[in-house]
Symmetry: C2
Subunit: 359 residues, 2 copies
């Protein structure tokens, strides 16, 4: 089958072998697969990602020097059933799945970051039947593919434990920040303040339903706290409470993942804020702990989502609570994958590019 193969620090469109079907597995046709910021990063810094995974989760069989087919934000159609499958969903059913599947040795692979199982930038994939979720009728396949990135937002929002009416600031409106905005609005949270230097991304934040949109080049996003009656200091908070004025814990979502962003958030955050770190910073970062101590800040670092959050996100999209389609700026075939990766380096050019390997 055809696939976009990562080898060295480049992508090559070529023919590869279909992997064998293991027990409980199905072969699927890839209908659509989004390009994720992690893919862009992995193209260049795969060694570091693999090293970090080893340090955090013990041994890893993954080898960044071997071929890998990226793609973990996908929708697909069932083609073929392997041994010991149940067949509850028939052949031809459209599905999504968390990007996790077993290899022939019974180990767990991340589909899209595996040497053994190709991800969604290939015509076909092998998935675990037990993890498949049927795409509801009426939801277009290319939109269903965005379940995965929006589930990242749903998880970050769940981890924030926002009270009703908590003011939320989303720093960075790339796909992660946009998914956070969408999840906040789908759950009735807010007001939601969104900040990004890019006009294109600010427009996307508006499409996701952000209530206030700030260009940090013109205005400090933390200036908005006063607008929403968030006390800046412990003393102000005490005064407001004493006056019977309710104060909600402010929440800040870090969705950039670059060095220095966390420190700028610590500098601007009001006292007692909860910071949910959803941006993936691969480099060493520095900050002044004393700022966080003096303001009694909390930082919660989040990763991925649960199976329940993934399934709930698919239904949020299908039922119109999340306008996933508004994120899609291009749909390309496999041959165009290398150029699409290059285009995504420019935040003005694209937000989300979908690869449709059947094109």
């Amino acid at each position: 089958m055809r696939a976009a193969v990562r080898r060295g620090r480049a992508l090559f469109c070529e023919e590869i072998q279909d992997p064998p079907l293991g027990a409980g597995q199905v072969r699927v046709k890839t209908l659509a697969c989004g390009i994720c910021g992690s893919d862009l990063h992995a193209l260049h810094y795969f060694d570091r990602m693999a090293e970090m995974s080893r340090r955090t989760s013990g041994s890893s069989s993954f080898d960044p020097n071997k071929d890998c087919v990226f793609g973990h934000e996908f929708s697909a159609e069932i083609l073929e059933f392997g041994p010991a499958t149940e067949g509850k969903l028939k052949s031809g059913t459209r599905v999504v799945s968390v990007p996790s599947a077993t290899n022939a040795a019974g180990g767990l692979e991340i589909v899209g970051y595996s040497n053994l199982l190709p991800g969604g930038f290939a015509e076909r994939m092998v998935l675990n039947e037990a993890l498949l979720v049927e795409v509801p009728n009426g939801l277009a396949s290319h939109v269903a593919a965005l379940t995965e990135p929006f589930a990242v937002g749903a998880h970050a929002v769940a981890k924030a434990h926002a009270e009703p009416g908590s003011p939320c600031l989303v720093v960075g409106c790339g796909p992660v920040g946009l998914a956070v905005i969408a999840a906040l609005k789908a759950r009735g949270h807010g007001p939601v303040i969104a900040a990004d230097f890019s006009p294109r991304r600010r427009a996307a934040a508006e499409a996701m339903g952000a209530d206030v949109i700030v260009d940090p080049a013109k205005e400090n996003p933390h200036g908005q706290w006063a607008v929403f009656s968030v006390p800046a200091t412990m003393f102000q908070a005490r005064m407001m409470n004493a006056a019977g004025q309710p104060t909600k814990r402010p929440i800040i979502f870090e969705c950039v993942g670059a060095p220095g962003v966390l420190q700028s958030i610590l500098d601007g955050a009001p006292v007692g804020a909860k910071i949910v770190v959803a941006g993936v910073c691969m480099e060493t970062d520095s900050f002044e702990p004393f700022l966080a101590i003096n303001k009694e800040l909390e930082m919660t670092f989040v990763l991925a989502y649960s199976g329940e959050e993934f399934a709930a996100t698919l239904h949020d999209i299908a039922e119109g609570r999340i306008n996933a389609e508004a994120l899609i700026t291009s749909r390309v075939g496999l041959n165009e994958v290398p150029q699409a990766f290059e285009r995504l380096a420019n935040p003005e050019a694209d937000v989300k590019i979908l690869v449709e390997p059947w094109r």
Copy 2:
């Protein structure tokens, strides 16, 4: 009256003026006052502390270039009542108080870090009547003075929201770490693992009731997680849950406050751990956010305590749930304050030195 005055980067024992008594205030005789790690730090880095306070809480009238009498861990005896006081506690009553009082202009001063109100390294202080808490009969005055540092531990533990049976690791057994151990044991939490390079401090950790004591020079403190069945990875946690084996969220207290400690904790922490940062690091620190993301760690930065936590701590000490006296290694007069500050730089020499200005 006599006081140990901080001027420049040195301490001078000399005569100073008693400040005037404002509305709602009482004059007290200082019975005992502990030397805090923050005092040692403030002697040398007061400019930086003042700058940080300004950055985190807006304007501050405090001037590090003017004289200041340190001392915020005190017990005292009521001498004299100012205007508009209620006099519920009689003259001669022994009291403790959170180190906060109003100045003549009605502003709030931190007693012990103020240019206007001297702290406990002076024969007398001015305190707000409304904040006084009576020392119970039978509790020695020099032990009651330790209410403040132990309240710091009580607050850190309250912010940890530990489940019953959560394994807790305390990194650093200086006064903050020891107060955390004491508060954990007073509330029935644990098992409590304590780690410190100093034999003196490990012995103090034992006196506070730590269940396991580790010398990090000989053994990685994070090796203890396996002993208490804490899953190291998300995968292990899922396997244990599936097998009906209960897992508790591990809690790590950072009680050192030096650059690099947080990174070493991120490196060793099991997945999903909650890190309570109680050590006050005044310098810029660096860390790898990716470790925290991949393990979904949470960092809660804590400062001080509430009035309720302060009062509850006094009663924990009075009723024997906290063995505060075990922390005290020396009791000195005002003349010995400069040497006592020097001695505290060596962790083997002392744990807590009390100043008794009447000596």
